[in-house]
């Protein structure tokens, strides 16, 4: 409850998020509309993944069942799609019980399916002289490793 309380309600319940929930007809509709909204971005930047899961749990156990609570729930759920470490909490997310809330399980499945690990490595050639013998490469990557050149 405390985690959820630290969020500004007006930044959470944006008109776009409300509209997405009211007009939703599929899980992917909710996910694709809310994740590009400022509300999901705000949550993803304000809370860590465990905090978001805790806030989702709070709503599931203490929800008053109002439309605004449902909007908050979908914003919190969708914000997980913007968290880079969401796949680390796969088991925890699968174990959540969403009761009769529509599309919650499908949204979680969609989010987890999208989490294909991607190794990105940028390779910059520093100098270009007699290439076949002396090209030198360095690596400014997001992973460990070095670039070795040969000739």
């Amino acid at each position: 409850m405390e985690t959820r309380g630290s969020l500004e309600t007006e930044l959470l319940e944006t008109p776009a998020a409300k509209e997405a929930v009211v007009f939703a007809n599929t899980a992917s509709y909710v996910l694709n509309r809310i994740r590009v909204d400022t509300s999901a971005d705000y949550v993803a930047k304000s809370l860590t993944t465990p905090q978001i899961i805790e806030a989702i749990r709070d709503i599931l156990t203490q929800s008053s069942g109002t439309v605004n609570e449902l909007v908050k729930f979908y914003v919190l759920l969708t914000s997980l799609a913007l968290r880079p470490d969401v796949s680390d909490f796969k088991e925890l997310l699968i174990s959540l019980s969403f009761g009769s809330i529509p599309w919650a399980r499908e949204i979680i499945t969609l989010i987890l399916q999208e989490q294909v690990p991607t190794v990105v490595k940028n390779i910059v050639y520093e100098s270009y002289g007699r290439v076949s013998n002396s090209a030198r490469a360095i690596s400014t990557n997001t992973t460990v490793g070095t670039v070795v050149t040969g000739g």
Binding site: V119, V120, N122
Partner: protein, 142 residues
Amino acid sequence: MRVQIAVLAQTVSVDRFTNRVSIFNLIDAIESPRFPLFIPELAFFALLRKESNDPEQFKVRVSISVGPSIIGSTEVQVDFQGSQNARILLNFQGLPVTEPKDLHIAVSLPNQQHFASDVMVIQSGQATGSLPFQTEEAKKNS
């Protein structure tokens, strides 16, 4: 372990919201009248698929050569993180192509044969004839 896709393109981008990959300007051949040639921007993308008995984490060596000469090679740490697929994206900010011979990209997977992909490098004919704004005198001198 299988290499599902391996392509060379001008740019590859990963969408921040959806984590979907977009490949722009696929490179199937490189053509130039002169060599060596310096390609300012190039991306190599590979999608790996894990089989049931494959390790979760391993190192992959990617090497690039033009004809017999190796331009460069790099090691990439791949971690499937419980997923069945993993992606490798190498962004080359400048790649020298020394001679008009096939650009060869080899991906070395653990305990397996190399996966290799070739891109044809062609030396096109030199441009001939005079420029349209050249004077008759300049044409004679050239």
